[in-house]
Amino acid sequence: MSSSRFLMVKAGTLALLAFLMTTAVVAPAVAQARGMDQPYSADELTASDPNLRQLRRDNPQLFEQILAAINRDASARNSGSPEELAAASPALDDLNRSSPEALLGLFLVLKGAAKGENQVPR
């Protein structure tokens, strides 16, 4: 890796970690103010992510499904150690994270789509 590329990656990683650490500090405080069991609202969820804002506009039904899925375990989003957060980040997660279950899922997605199947792999 060239030195400039390394610095860019490092800067990006540090920025991401800073963001995650902020989230780690802020999220529990917010959660405390709003109650640990209070579900996330659609506005809260979309505030942090442009993709989610887009999804909410384009496919409200799918967005609602996602919101419901996340709220099923709202407390899981409230805190986490720096290690957990780092592990959850796209840039820092395991570079070789594949699982046999995920590989089978991807295989079945391609096979199902090719055959025009309606059933989604589970």
Binding site: I66, S98, V109
Partner: protein, 199 residues
């Protein structure tokens, strides 16, 4: 040794034989991929030897084998991908097993922004994908960074065309080499096992 334990011994030997052939086929494919690389530098060969490299080859093989290279429209695939990720998002335990977060999965869903570009790029030249959209398809099996690293290595190896568009995105397209090598490896293994079973 009674006949029962003899039979179990034979079964076990057959199991071991199958395992050996599977391991051999995989190692042989990896060797072929490394040999076929036009860039023999350590960095590229290191990336090609990663487990994820095999999975990327498999993905391209599955695109070809399932007929997606023969169609201008991959909306069905993107739609199935979106619905699959939605199913995974509903299952916290499954996400934990896959070591993937809801945030990552959400980013990998094709939206009104990303879906048209995916379809347009594919339609303009079958098999072409934005690098970011390739990473979306592979979200459950590798990180975005691993995908980027492999795309760079596969390009240097001569397996992918990698074109930077005026829009600042990177479009990649497989040259068909890894699909052929992967397919040949699977077929060799299948025929070998079939002939062993009939012998």
């Amino acid at each position: 040794m009674d006949s029962n334990s003899t039979m179990m011994g034979t079964e076990l030997e057959s199991d071991l034989h199958l395992l050996e052939r599977m391991r051999f086929a995989r190692a042989q494919l990896n060797e072929e991929i490394c040999t076929a690389s036009i860039d023999q530098s350590g960095d590229v060969l290191h990336a090609l030897r990663l487990e994820s490299s095999y999975h990327l080859c498999e993905f391209f093989f599955l695109l070809k084998a399932n007929g997606f290279y023969e169609t201008d429209d991959i909306h069905a695939l993107a739609d199935m991908h979106n619905r699959y990720l939605t199913e995974v998002l509903k299952n916290e335990e499954k996400m934990r097993r896959m070591n993937v977060t809801s945030e990552r999965l959400l980013q990998a869903i094709f939206t009104g922004d990303t879906m048209p570009r995916l379809l347009d790029v594919w339609r303009s030249a079958r098999g072409s994908l934005d690098q970011s959209n390739l990473a979306r398809f592979l979200v459950t099996i590798m990180s975005t960074e691993t995908c980027r690293k492999l795309v760079v290595a596969f390009t240097k190896a001569g397996f992918l065309e990698r074109i930077r568009t005026p829009h600042g995105t990177v479009v990649i397209r497989s040259k068909g080499i890894v699909e052929d090598m992967f397919g040949a490896s699977i077929r060799r293994l299948r025929l070998e096992l079939q002939s062993g079973m009939s012998a």
